[in-house]
């Protein structure tokens, strides 16, 4: 098999690093159980979080979940469909700003700007914002028809710069440099992401962060289940073959340009949703945020998590979004570090250094990302458990294959 040169994302054919070993069906019962029970337990824990943790943690959680949605979208596009994109920040911005514009009220903004806005019901505005992001993706997808691989990735970067330029300059929509405030998401006067009306559950006041947590949780669960199913089903298979060999995919019956467009649309809709949620968390959207660094961070999320995997995208989002905050939150505990303000290595610098090292470490340990790392650890544990159990651990598993020669004694003429 010769290497399709379009596979910019790995060097050669043969087994994909970290792809699952064959013959795992023997343990599928157990893994099935684990894969069913684990998410349920996780979900219950996630539902309980707002009753126990403070605003900082809730906000961190909301940001991680929002990023996870964005990362799932990007993973669909890059990992599954093989369309490298660095334009994700742009689509996030489209979602965030479109929501603000659809739901926002006209009026004076900062710096002498008069803002416009449609004052639509927030939920409708959110749906429209996601749709707008999808349309933006659709409009960009023809470029992917012509430009491939890394070139496509870096070409899409142009969208980020163009986008930021627009955000700064279209100030009646975006508020310009100072951005614009984010209307609360609400249904019939009940704010899903704000504080109005006041609400107390089991003695815990349910303010904006608590509510946002649940909104984000619902979104992330729906988004990941949806993505997982798409990947396992008909569209997913078509996208994967398109990634591996575009021409062959067409011949096999996959309408390639339509699928490319669909991948861009779906991915940017995910980004749009992530943008809406992030806007809720920030309560103000500023153009500065939606830059190159953000795009690269999303790429880092899906690679660190494991390309093409939904779980990976979520893990990667937690890693890239959560880790720096956690590190700086706890870096104060490292008392041997210099005081902030001195020129030594202070906690802030240490946190950043650790973050950088962590990125390198994850990838060196497992280029397949956190999912692959997790899978490997699980396998290692299982092997150890199996070895301790009955059966002969030393005997090699049956080589797979089939016999061509009938088992029949034949004089071996040895040389």
């Amino acid at each position: 098999m010769s290497c399709p040169t379009s596979s910019w994302w790995r060097c050669s054919c043969g087994g994909r690093p970290g792809s699952s070993a064959p013959g795992s069906s023997s343990v599928s019962d157990r893994t099935n159980l684990v894969s069913r029970v684990l998410p349920a337990v996780g979900l219950i824990l996630a539902l309980m979080v707002p009753f126990y943790l403070s605003g900082f943690w809730l906000l961190l959680g909301v940001m991680v979940m929002a990023a996870a949605i964005g990362a799932i979208g990007l993973s669909l596009l890059v990992g599954t469909a093989g369309q490298l994109s660095l334009a994700h920040a742009f689509f996030l911005a489209v979602g965030a700003y479109a929501y603000c514009w659809f739901a926002g009220a006209p009026g004076p903004g900062g710096g002498g700007i008069t803002l416009t806005g449609l004052e639509l019901p927030p939920l409708l505005a959110a749906v429209l914002a996601v749709a707008t992001a999808g349309v933006a993706g659709l409009l960009f997808s023809p470029v992917a028809g012509r430009v491939r691989g890394l070139y496509l990735g870096l070409a899409s970067l142009a969208l980020v710069f163009l986008g930021q330029h627009l955000l700064f300059n279209l100030s009646s929509v975006t508020g310009g440099f100072n951005g614009r405030g984010v209307p609360e998401l609400s249904v019939l006067g009940f704010e899903l992401t704000g504080r109005d009306p006041e609400l107390t559950l089991l003695g815990v006041p349910f303010g904006d962060r608590e509510r946002q947590w649940y909104v984000a949780l619902v979104c992330v669960v729906v988004a990941s289940v949806f993505a997982r199913r798409v990947l396992a089903g008909r569209p997913g298979r078509a996208l994967v073959l398109m990634r591996e060999n575009e021409t062959a995919a067409g011949v096999v019956g996959v309408p390639v340009s339509r699928y490319k467009a669909s991948a861009f649309v779906l991915s940017s809709m995910y980004a749009g949703l992530a943008g809406v949620l992030l806007a809720q968390a920030f309560q103000r959207v500023v153009p500065e945020y939606f830059g190159l660094v953000l795009s690269v961070e999303y790429l880092a999320m899906i690679v660190i998590g494991g390309l093409g995997s939904v779980t990976g995208a979520v893990l990667g989002a937690a890693f890239v979004t959560g880790l720096p905050s956690l590190l700086s939150h706890y870096s104060g505990l490292l008392t041997f570090l210099a005081e902030p303000g001195t020129s030594g290595v202070d906690p802030a610098v240490a946190a950043r250094l650790v973050f950088g090292v962590a990125i390198v470490a994850v990838i060196l340990l497992e280029p397949g990302g956190l999912v692959a790392l997790g899978r490997r650890l699980r396998l290692a544990v299982r092997y150890r458990a199996d070895a301790a159990g009955p059966g002969d651990p030393g005997s090699p598993p049956d080589p797979v294959g089939h016999s061509a020669l009938p088992p029949q004694d034949m004089t071996t003429a040895s040389s």
């Binding site: 010769s2 290497c3 043969g14 090699p396 080589p399 034949m410």
Partner: protein
Amino acid sequence: MLEVGRLAVHYGKAQIALHDVTLTVPDGAAVAVLGANGAGKSTLMRALSGALGHHRGTVDEGTITYDGRSLRGLDAAGIVAAGVVQVPEGRRIFTTLTVEENLRAGAVLVRDRVARTRRRDEVYELFPVLAERREQRAGLLSGGEQQMLAIGRALMSGPSLLLLDEPSLGLAPRIVGRIGEIVREINRQGTAVLLVEQNAAMALSVADTAYVFEVGRVRLSGPSAELRKSDEIRRLYLGGDAGPEQHGPTKPGERAPARWSA
């Protein structure tokens, strides 16, 4: 002389591909390896040429020595430097390079410019179509042309042991014949050859000895002439022209799927 002793190889997690394989290629000899799909022939080649790592495979035990020197610890480039060169399965030509550059890439270890040019001309002589296409991107060649290029490229380094993994794959009968001749010719000039082939007739006509692999083990081995006479070999690898009906599915009892009606 290449000596492989009790070689065992596995891929990834416990996918055993070779088991207790012992085999020798005497200096200047031509040895053929036959076997069904998945028998482990390519795995053997990869183990010899140091390419297993690229497939997440590892040698578990056994020895590989060439001229008394162990190849097991060497990387692929080191093995080439020792004179052992492989034509990989599936051609693996450099698709973005031109034909000429592919040949040049095969000769990176050859310092002598004159020798390089001479070998290149020899390759062009062997495969004139490559000379016609010398400026074309290799990836655009036809399947058979790519196969010729893969063989030519391996010849460029002037190996003392040539490992050929299905060199006749996808070649027209006339060229297959020529490949056989070429291999014989290379061999006559002193290069030892280890040849994996599905075209058993050609392989046995070229090789002095042959090994038959089955599910990761050496099932049979012996002089080509003797193996040629074996009924089993004739039936499975050479075939008296029996026609398709003589060859049932490899597993009995498979029904043909009925016509699909949606």
